[in-house]
């Protein structure tokens, strides 16, 4: 009881402070009142502290099993392990709103504190926007969906967590995904602030790019972990189903991928200003749209979330965000004319712009597929598209992006002088050799024959960039490895980015391989019988029943060479007989053997056996990508001094 009141008090105080901070921020930004700007900042920090307090209270309530609080009752029970009990913090509707607001308030505080030093005027507006977003979440929590709502009595135990979610994945995927979603608010706030204050200079690009990278890194981690979790737990042999909830997470990631590339064109050449604003704003709006879709249950999705009144609130928030962004962009559209358009000739910036066009096209196609049920629903008959639609549309666009990944980094800025075929000779050779090798190995699938040579070309391009380290290092004094490390450290951002490229290419190889060469069979086996899938023969040895606690388990034993695979099926009588599959996976660098126990019938057992090539590459590539983001940006990189065209005014500023 006490905890609920304390938590509600924290939320109410935070709400009042956020509103205060928002109003003060707008007034300070308009009037240039630096004292008021400081008041706005401090109110925002205090609101963040209030959210820390509310979060601590909710965690305490969960860990002390305070079941009088409805949220604790609905999302945990006494049998749940300590980490999963703590994970219930973000595991439910109300708690996830609190987690979201908390992260945005903390990241926003750091961003505002850092930016206020150099540019207090613009920062006042960013502060106001951030306070507005955090304030919206607090409004919802205070008045509609409070994590601290009380039950009329105190139950002795809670309802617990669905067994599907009682998994290590619950501890790692949702926190990153929600953090990614919430982080898109920070670059958005600085974009709106720059539009409102009319100061969209180089400092703005540097700041916004950094915040966008944080959001992008978090979202990359969330997507990778989500795919990993789905693959290991759900037992359908795949990792991404193009469900609206998954698309909702993908779209802001695509838009931000475009932005972190086009931001470099603005840094170097001072162009693409309006376009960049558009991308940052679009990423945020897509994340809000995604949240609206996820929380309202308005689209047919396999992930149904409890139908709640939150849909209307998020729709209102989306409309308000669109109106504010549109208004701010329209007001400044005249000033955003770029001093010099990007040449339409082969050049680095040309490659960036083409990549942007392709990624925006892909985002639009995903958005169309996701919203089709809503659009067609207005005519009376609801249409839906499945994975086939997304694969057909995205494959050509992704192939074009892969080609750019191989070509773009080798093109010089502004214009290619001399033969550009000469520039591209190594990746072209790698693509040719790979293609010949694949054909010689008997590969005939067009998808693999197009995509894998491009992946090889891209990898060679990245290798060439790393090769330049050695060339540069030889000019420095000292032993070569040390000098090379210094070169990399000095150009952290560049080499971090190329590591991320390598990650993307490894992911691409994994996606292509698992798509083109996946094999699967559904079989019913008696003990002693075998099934062969690909080059693997599995022999069913027998089944054992293992009763345990609140469930009973059927564990099948299959021999594969000298290994034993043990897929299992758990049944929870207390949950109306819900079953839970434990997939047996044998991973190797080149293929996974993935066995699902589909059911048992007398002495016979039904299995689905998949051979999934190169799936491990997706996880490795995702890890490399995130490592690249971390290496490139963990510490503030030194300024890159390299062939910056004079007079364009858009160099990398010191802060």
């Amino acid at each position: 009881m006490f905890l609920a009141e304390l938590g509600s008090a924290f939320l109410l105080a935070s709400f009042v402070l956020a509103v205060l901070s928002g109003v003060a921020g707008v007034v300070a930004g308009r009037g240039g009142d630096l004292t008021l700007a400081r008041v706005a900042r401090r109110a925002f920090y205090a609101a963040a502290l209030g959210l820390v307090g509310a979060s601590g209270t909710l965690l305490t309530a969960l860990l002390s099993h305070d079941f009088v609080i409805a949220y604790v009752f609905e999302h945990s029970d006494r049998s749940l392990s300590l980490p999963l009990t703590a994970a219930a913090f973000y595991g439910g509707q109300e708690g996830s709103l609190l987690y979201w607001a908390l992260l945005l308030a903390l990241m926003g505080s750091v961003a505002v504190a850092a930016a206020a030093v150099s540019n207090p005027g613009t920062t006042a507006f960013a502060n106001a926007v951030l306070a507005g977003i955090v304030g919206f979440f607090l409004l919802v929590m205070v008045f509609v969906a409070s994590p601290f709502a009380l039950l009329s009595g105190t139950p002795t135990d809670g309802l617990g967590l669905n067994p599907l979610l009682r998994d290590g994945g619950m501890l790692i995927h949702p926190p990153f995904q929600l953090a990614g979603y919430s982080a898109f608010g920070v670059p958005f706030a600085f974009a709106i602030a720059a539009l409102l204050s009319g100061r969209d200079d180089a400092a703005w690009v540097a700041q916004t790019r950094r915040y966008a990278l944080v959001a992008w890194g978090l979202q990359s981690a969330g997507l990778t972990l989500g795919m990993w979790w789905a693959y290991h737990v759900l037992g359908w042999g795949g990792y991404f189903g193009w469900d609206p909830v998954e698309n909702a997470a993908l779209m802001p990631w695509l838009a931000t991928t475009a932005y972190i590339h086009s931001a470099q064109v603005q840094e170097r050449r001072g162009t693409l200003r309006a376009w960049n604003f558009g991308l940052v704003i679009a990423a945020f709006l897509l994340s809000v749209l995604g949240t609206f879709v996820v929380r309202s249950g308005i689209l047919p999705s396999v992930h149904t979330f409890a139908v709640s009144p939150l849909g209307t609130w998020f729709f209102g928030f989306l409309v308000a965000s669109v109106a504010i962004s549109g208004g701010a962009l329209a007001r400044r559209s005249g000033r955003l004319r770029s001093p010099q358009p990007v040449d339409a000739s082969p050049s680095r910036e040309g490659a960036f712009l083409l990549q942007n066009i392709l990624l925006v096209a892909l985002t639009a196609a995903v958005l169309w597929g996701t919203l089709l049920p809503l659009i067609s629903g207005m005519t009376g008959r609801t249409l839906v598209v499945g994975a086939a639609y997304y694969e057909r549309v995205s494959a050509p666009l992704l192939v074009a992006v892969l080609a750019l990944l191989a070509v773009g980094p080798l093109l010089p800025w502004q214009r290619v002088r001399g033969g550009w075929l000469r520039l591209l000779r190594w990746p072209l050779a790698a693509a040719g050799v790979t293609l010949a090798g694949l054909v010689a190995a008997g590969v005939r699938q067009p998808g693999a024959l197009v995509a894998l040579p491009l992946v090889a070309a891209g990898l060679v391009t990245c290798l060439l960039e790393y090769g330049r380290v050695a060339v540069l290092a030889r000019r420095l004094a000292g032993p070569l490895p040390l000098a090379a490390a210094r070169v990399v450290a000095r150009n952290r951002r560049r080499y971090g980015a190329y590591l991320a490229h390598v990650g993307i290419l490894v992911v691409a190889a994994g996606l292509v391989g698992s798509h083109v060469w996946q094999q699967s069979r559904q079989v019913i086996l008696l003990p002693g019988q075998s099934v062969t899938v690909g080059s693997h023969t599995l022999t069913y040895e027998g089944m054992a029943a293992q009763p345990a606690g609140d469930h009973s388990a059927l564990v099948a034993r299959l021999a594969m060479g000298d290994e034993t695979l043990e897929p299992a099926r758990l049944t929870y009588p207390s949950l109306g007989g819900q079953a839970l599959t434990h997939v047996a996976i044998r991973s190797s660098p080149f293929e996974d053997v993935y066995v699902v126990l589909a059911g048992a019938d007398g002495g016979a057992a039904a299995f689905t056996v998949y051979v999934n090539p190169l799936v491990t590459w997706i996880w490795v590539g995702g890890a490399l990508l995130i490592l690249g983001v971390l290496l490139g940006n963990l510490v503030r990189p030194e300024v890159e001094r390299e062939r910056v065209p004079a007079g364009l005014g858009a160099t990398v500023p010191a802060r």
């Binding site: 409805a70 617990g160 047919p300 089709l372 008959r381 839906v384 598209v385 666009l397 589909a598 039904a606």
Partner: protein, 131 residues
């Protein structure tokens, strides 16, 4: 001139995208209907239908072949499905079946998806008034 070239390129990409989207939508879009709508407007191809699994689930072939009745808004429909079932499949949950009604009057599903027990409401709490 430069701007014109970019606009041209953008138009080419937009045209390709338009073609891709239209053709892919046309070839893979399906109607998503309730049982009543499906009966009122029979579609020529596959459709997706939402229903609640009733108690008459019968599983054969080690669980790889299932027959049950799906119900929604007072209408019912027999469903026949071959394949691995989602973990949470059991009477009382919502499923989306993808397929068509055969000449036997049974809906032959080529795909069956169960609605996830959302992380936002545990399976037990659904329908339990707590506030």
């Amino acid at each position: 001139m430069t701007l014109l070239k970019w606009l041209g390129l953008g138009a080419v990409v937009a045209a390709c995208l338009g073609y891709l989207v239209v053709s892919a939508t046309g070839s893979s879009a399906e109607y998503y209907q309730t049982i009543a709508e499906m009966r009122a407007h029979p579609a020529s191809g596959d459709v997706r239908v939402l229903g609640i699994v009733q108690d008459d689930v019968s599983r054969t072939d080690g669980g790889l072949h299932v027959r049950f009745t799906a119900a929604d808004a007072g209408q019912t429909m027999p469903v026949d499905y071959r394949g691995a079932l989602p973990d949470i499949f059991r009477p009382g949950i919502q499923v989306v079946v993808d397929g068509r009604v055969g000449s036997d009057g049974v809906f032959h599903a080529r795909a069956l998806e169960a609605k996830c027990p959302s992380r936002f409401s545990s399976a037990q709490s659904q329908g339990t008034p707590t506030r």
